[in-house]
Symmetry: C2
Subunit: 378 residues, 2 copies
C-alpha cells in the first residue's frame, strides 16, 4: 500500500506538496476550504477544518495528517490524536505557532534571542512599554495575523484602540503583543526539517526581502552569511525544532540587527514562502522534505544546485488576464527561470505564484528572476 | 483560464507530466485505461482509447491532446483532428512511430543513417536477407513491440514462423522488418523537443545501458561524447523532428557502431525512459518540456545541474512488499538520490520506478544511483 498523507488546507503550500508526493509514490489527499482551491487536483474533500467530524472523516485511513496552515483549532487537533491519528506537527507544537504571546513566552523560556516584548492587556500596559522603548514600538495581535496583517507600528496606545476593544471577543487572543522596534540590517529566514524520531536537517539561511510586510524576494543563501551568522541562525532553528518538538518543516524568520545579533521574528511550522526557492534550487525541496519528515522517513540532502538561488514572488498577478496569458512572453524572455503558478485568481497583493532562477553570479541571477516576474505584473 | 492538457494513456509517462503541470499552473486530465493507473491522480476519465466517442468526449474543452504512448489508432486520431482538437504530435507524425516499416522507409527517404533493412512478406524474403547479412539478423514485428517484445535475433526463417503466420491477422502490421545485426560499441539516445511553430531544443546525447532488451541505466551526457558523436546525434534528432513534423518530445535511440558511425535504432514521439534523468538533472525536464512544446509555449533551458546525471530503472520492484516498504532504508543510505515510484504493483520485469543521482564524479554518481536502486530489488 502507498503511504498516504492527508493535508488540511488547500492553499498553495498543499498544492506544492503534490509534485513530490507524485514523485515518491505517496498518496496525497487534501481537505480544501472550497471547490476551486489551489490544491484542487489532490482535494478529495471540501469542508470546514473547524469541524471535528469533517476532519475526522477526512483523516480516516491516512498515515499522517499535516497542514497547509496553522489555523486548525486545538480541539479539532486533539480529536484527531484521540482517534489515533498521527498529527504532524503535534497539537502541542502547533499551539506555540498559533499564538504569538505563547510563542514569545516559550522562546524566552528557552533562552533564545527575541526582541524585547510585553503582554498587553490594557492601554496602560502599552503606554508603559512605549515609555521604555523610545516611544515607537510594534504591536501585534496574538492570533489571526499573517503577511503583515495584525501588525502595526505605533507611537500611542490610541492607534490600537480597536484591537484592545476587540480582545473581549477572543478572535485574536486574550491580549496583544508589544515588541521593541528592532534596528535590523536585513531579514533572514532559516528553515529546518525534523522527523518525529529526532533527525534534523537544515537548508542554508536565506535573506528575505519584504515589501509592505510581505515577502517579495528571497536570496539563498543569504549573501555574506557564511560563518557566524549562518551558525547562529541554524542553531536557533535546531533548538526551536527540538525543544518545541516540531515535526515537518519549521521556518524561523529572523532579524539580523545592526549590532550583529540575530533575533527571532516569527515561526512557521510548515513549508514557508522563504523556502520556495528549494523546489528548483536544492536537491531536496522543502515540500518533499516536509512529506518525508511528517512520515518519519529519512531526510534528504539540502545542497544547492547552483551557488545562488533567487525567488521572486508574483504578488497580485496580472491586472488583466491570467498568469497563463503571460507565459509565452515570460518563457521566451527567460528560458532558464522556473515559473510557478498557484492556480489562483489574481487579486491585489495576493500571492499567486513565484519564479526562481539559479546560477553562480548573484547579480545576474537576481536580474533574471526579476525580469521573469515582471511579465506577470501590471 | 488555465491552459488544459489532455493526455491519452495513464502510464508512468502521464504520471510524470503531473508535477510540471502543477508547477506551471496547467490543468492536466488523463484518459486512463483502468482505475488504478499510474497517473490516477490526474485521471478524469477511464475508458478505451480505441473508441472514438470515448476519446472525443474526453477531449472536449482541452487546449491540446497528447499521449502517454503511441498506440492510439489513426482513425481515432483523425476523428479528433476533424473535431478541431489540437493533437500533438499530429496523426501523420505518429503514423511513422506506430509502424517500424513505415519508420524505416521514411528515415531512408530522408537519407538518415539506419541499419540495412528489408521488408519481409514471406520466409523467402528473410532467407534472402539472411544470406546477404552473414546468416544472423534481427527480425521485428512492424507494430505492437516495445521493451524488447516483438524483437528476435534469428539465423533461420523458421524462428519467426509464428510471426509470418500471424501477419494475416494484421495485429502486428502487414509485413515483418529485418535488420542487419549492427556491431555497436554502445547504445545512445538523443532527445529533443519541438514546438508546432518550429522551435527545437536538445538535451545532450545520453548513453543507454540495456539489459534483456530493456533500458536499465542511463548516463547523461554519454561519456566521451562531446564533439563529433554528440553533433551527429543532435543533428539526426533535429532532422527527424523537423522533417516528420514531430511536436513534443522526440527520443531517438541510436547505435554507436564499432566503426564510429551513428545509426538510428528506434524513435519514440513522447517522453522516453532515456530522458527520465532530466527530471532531477536538467533545468527543464522532458516532461515539462513536452507540456510546453505541445502547447506551443517557448521551450526551456536544457542545461544540467551537475556534470553527470545517472538514472537506474527499478525493474520488477521488490519481490516482497512494495517500494514504499523499502523507502526508509534507501533514503537513509542515499540521502542525495532522487527516488521515483510510479505507483504500480511490482511484477517481474515491469518498470515500477527509477532513481537518479547527480554529481561531478561519474564513478561515484553511478555508485550512488545503483546503491539506491538495489534497495528496491530482491
Amino acid at each position: 500500500m502507498a503511504l498516504t498523507v492527508g493535508v488540511i488546507g488547500g492553499g498553495q503550500l498543499a498544492r506544492m506538496m503534490v509534485p513530490p508526493a507524485v514523485g515518491l509514490g505517496l498518496e496525497i489527499r487534501v481537505l480544501a476550504e472550497n471547490e476551486g482551491s489551489s490544491a484542487r487536483l489532490a482535494a478529495t474533500e471540501v469542508g470546514d477544518y473547524h469541524d471535528a467530524a469533517t476532519v475526522l472523516a477526512f483523516a480516516r485511513d491516512v498515515d499522517v495528517i499535516t497542514f497547509d496552515h496553522e489555523h486548525v483549532p486545538q480541539d479539532v487537533l486533539q480529536a484527531l490524536v484521540d482517534a489515533g491519528v498521527s498529527v504532524q506537527p503535534s497539537p502541542s507544537a502547533l499551539f506555540v505557532a498559533q499564538d504569538k504571546l505563547v510563542m514569545r513566552e516559550r522562546l524566552t523560556e528557552l533562552g533564545l534571542p527575541v526582541p524585547d516584548w510585553a503582554r498587553l492587556e490594557t492601554a496602560a500596559d502599552l503606554d508603559a512599554f512605549l515609555a521604555d522603548h523610545g516611544g515607537r514600538v510594534v504591536v501585534k495581535t496574538a492570533r489571526g495575523g499573517y503577511d503583515g496583517k495584525g501588525v502595526r507600528v505605533v507611537t500611542s496606545s490610541g492607534q490600537v484602540a480597536d484591537w484592545f476593544a476587540g480582545l473581549s471577543e477572543g478572535n485574536t487572543g486574550g491580549a496583544l503583543l508589544a515588541e521593541e522596534l528592532v534596528e535590523f540590517r536585513r531579514e533572514l529566514a532559516q528553515s529546518v526539517a525534523r522527523r518525529p524520531s529526532g533527525e534534523i536537517v537544515a537548508w542554508p539561511v536565506v535573506e528575505s526581502i519584504q515589501r509592505d510586510g510581505v515577502c517579495a524576494e528571497v536570496i539563498a543563501p543569504a549573501p555574506g552569511s557564511a560563518g557566524r551568522i549562518a551558525d547562529m541562525a541554524e542553531q536557533i532553528a535546531r533548538t526551536v525544532a527540538s525543544e518545541l518538538g516540531v515535526t515537518g518543516v519549521l521556518a524561523v524568520e529572523l532579524f539580523e540587527t545592526t549590532d550583529d545579533r540575530v533575533l527571532i521574528n516569527e515561526l512557521a511550522m510548515r513549508p514557508h514562502n522563504t523556502g520556495h526557492w528549494s523546489i528548483d534550487g536544492s536537491t531536496t525541496s522543502q515540500f518533499e522534505q516536509h512529506l518525508r519528515a511528517v512520515l518519519d522517513l529519512p531526510l534528504g540532502d539540502t545542497g544547492l544546485h547552483d551557488e545562488w538561488s533567487v525567488m521572486v514572488n508574483v504578488l497580485g498577478g496580472p491586472v488583466t488576464g491570467t498568469i497563463a496569458d503571460r507565459l509565452p512572453a515570460a518563457m521566451a524572455d527567460q528560458p532558464s527561470v522556473k515559473i510557478h503558478d498557484y492556480g489562483k485568481d489574481p487579486r491585489p497583493g495576493r500571492k499567486v505564484g513565484h519564479v526562481t532562477a539559479g546560477g553562480d553570479d548573484l547579480d545576474e541571477v537576481v536580474f533574471r528572476a526579476r525580469a521573469a516576474a515582471e511579465f506577470f505584473a501590471g
